[in-house]
């Protein structure tokens, strides 16, 4: 596979398998991904993304948000999904399934990240 087939900027290859599910635009969609994933899926994403979060943000911080190319946008959207799923993995743990039902009523109507592009 040549580098042109990669969906994310170089250096973040370990996150490639997670792009399809987690790199989604819009806070409502990202929060929904947290609901739709299995415990194994979120654990795998969290474990891989945890070490790459700081370097990925440092990489993206070099550019203004509205100047991201497609690869950078995907990386950003994945990290924003991570912001939701962190709560499931680090905080709610085995209570996550029950909590998802409670969360359903809390409708996100605006997120600052969605105003960037």
């Amino acid at each position: 596979m040549s580098t042109t087939n990669f969906l994310l900027p170089a250096g973040f290859e370990a996150l490639e398998p997670f792009v399809k599910f987690w790199a989604v635009a819009g806070a409502t969609a990202r929060a929904q991904r947290r609901n739709d994933c299995s415990e194994q899926e979120r654990a795998a994403f969290y474990d891989t993304a945890k070490e790459l979060l700081a370097p990925a943000l440092a990489y993206l911080d070099r550019k203004p948000l509205n100047k991201f190319d497609e690869k950078e946008k995907r990386l950003m959207n994945m990290l924003l999904s991570l912001a939701h799923v962190v709560q499931a993995v680090e905080v709610l743990a085995q209570d996550e399934e029950k909590h998802a039902e409670a969360r359903r009523h809390m409708k996100i109507t605006r997120a600052t990240a969605d105003l960037n592009s």
């Binding site: 948000l65 905080v91 009523h105 809390m106 109507t109």
Partner: protein
């Protein structure tokens, strides 16, 4: 800046006993007749927060907000003269809701029904075939609503001539609110919820920490410490119908890795800008009737509980930030902050509804507040004082036997 004592000291029962110790009647938390009295005694005549000036960034900006409890829709405009004005969103021809959008920017507002057109100042500018009417244009302006701003927050009062201005209503709290970063916010994140619960029962949940360890065993874990297992606040203050608490922050909070990272970044961003640091950053403001304001720069949010009926309400939570997301790190940290707050409020919502279902049965004549639920007691007193005064006034006027 005052240092917080590392050992938690519970506010003493005596400090708050002046507000009474008796049980509180349960009826006001579910009965339709009491709600009808609140509608007239409170919601049609008190200052209600309805938006933020950052939603009206330039001349021509407008927002439209419902106030269901008063069957009202309010149009708020910023004029070419920069002035913020509020009107009933009601065409003066035959009453049609004038503006259907929730927000936007316009030079004028045209009613869809017969095309009457109003300016940002509410004046009727033009109306087709107006010479066939029997009224002057100058008598056809939009009906104004009292409006004022404190700490960037827009308040309206549906009373045609409010007994108090906003400044007088807020008293010394106004100055404290102005110090919060919220007053300089330029953007916000928002989530909303509908809830089958009375507005006071809903709001009370956010006025006590007693439930925290039971309802937020995980999401609230960082707020509790060995010497303060209930995460009770360190201080309460009372200002007329309003109240504040100073929250205790656990010096030994055990933060989780990415949570620590996100909150740490927000703290860094705030620390880099002195204007975001307020001496009231650890205070929570509970403005009458139902507005919660928390000033901490890491999680600066305003939570409004709007009554819809005796047993239904709507919550609007907004995290107010200064500046658009500056970079990826700020975007990530703000998204996390929203997700974190939303998780806590989701847990609250479920248990509040359970409380309402129980009260609706009429099984209880009274509910009970302990000394650490004194803010709930204070709200009830403020509400009931106004309701009883209104009831007495109506009786004296002979409207009600």
């Amino acid at each position: 800046m005052t240092m917080q004592p590392t050992t938690y000291q519970l506010p003493s029962n005596e400090d708050v006993a002046g507000l009474g110790t008796t049980p509180i009647p349960a009826g006001p938390y579910y009965r339709d007749d009491y709600f009808e009295l609140e509608r007239e005694a409170i919601f049609r005549r008190t200052w209600i927060q309805i938006g933020h000036v950052c939603e009206l960034p330039e001349p021509g900006s407008f927002i439209v907000r419902p106030i269901e409890v008063a069957n009202a829709s309010i149009l708020i405009t910023r004029g070419k003269d920069e002035k913020v004005r509020a009107f009933h969103n009601v065409c003066t021809h035959r009453g049609t809701h004038l503006v259907a959008e929730e927000s936007g920017n316009r030079a004028s507002f045209t009613c869809r029904y017969h095309s009457w057109t109003f300016g940002y100042d509410g004046a009727l500018r033009s109306a087709p075939d107006f010479e066939r009417f029997y009224v002057d244009k100058s008598d056809c302006g939009l009906r104004p609503v009292a409006v004022d701003v404190c700490a960037g927050l827009i308040f309206v009062n549906l009373d045609k001539s409010p007994a108090q201005g906003l400044g007088e209503f807020l008293g010394p709290i106004a100055e404290q609110l102005e110090t919060l970063s919220i007053s300089r916010a330029t953007t916000f994140a928002e989530y909303v919820y509908e809830i089958d619960a009375n507005w006071k029962l809903t709001f009370d949940n956010f006025q006590e920490h007693y439930h925290l360890r039971f309802i937020h065993p995980r999401t609230g874990a960082g707020a509790r410490g060995p010497d303060n297992p209930f995460a009770y606040p360190v201080k309460f203050d009372f200002y007329g119908p309003h109240r504040t608490e100073s929250v205790w922050s656990n010096p030994a909070a055990d933060r989780l890795p990415i949570q620590q990272f996100a909150l740490g970044r927000l703290a860094q961003i705030a620390a880099a800008d002195v204007s975001r640091n307020s001496s009231h950053a650890k205070d929570v403001f509970f403005l009458f009737p139902s507005l919660f304001i928390q000033g901490t720069p890491v999680l600066p949010f305003v939570h409004s509980v709007m009554p819809i009926s005796a047993t239904r309400s709507r919550g609007v939570v907004r995290l107010y930030w200064i500046g658009e997301d500056d970079n990826a790190t700020e975007s990530f940290a703000r998204e996390y902050s929203m997700a974190m707050a939303r998780d806590v409020h989701a847990e609250d919502r479920v248990v509040i509804e359970a409380g309402q279902r129980g009260l609706n049965s009429g099984a209880l004549e009274f509910i009970h507040f302990q000394s650490q639920e004194v803010l709930c007691r204070h709200l009830f007193h403020a509400v009931d004082t106004m309701v009883q005064a209104h009831r007495a006034g109506r009786g004296a006027a002979g409207v009600v036997a």
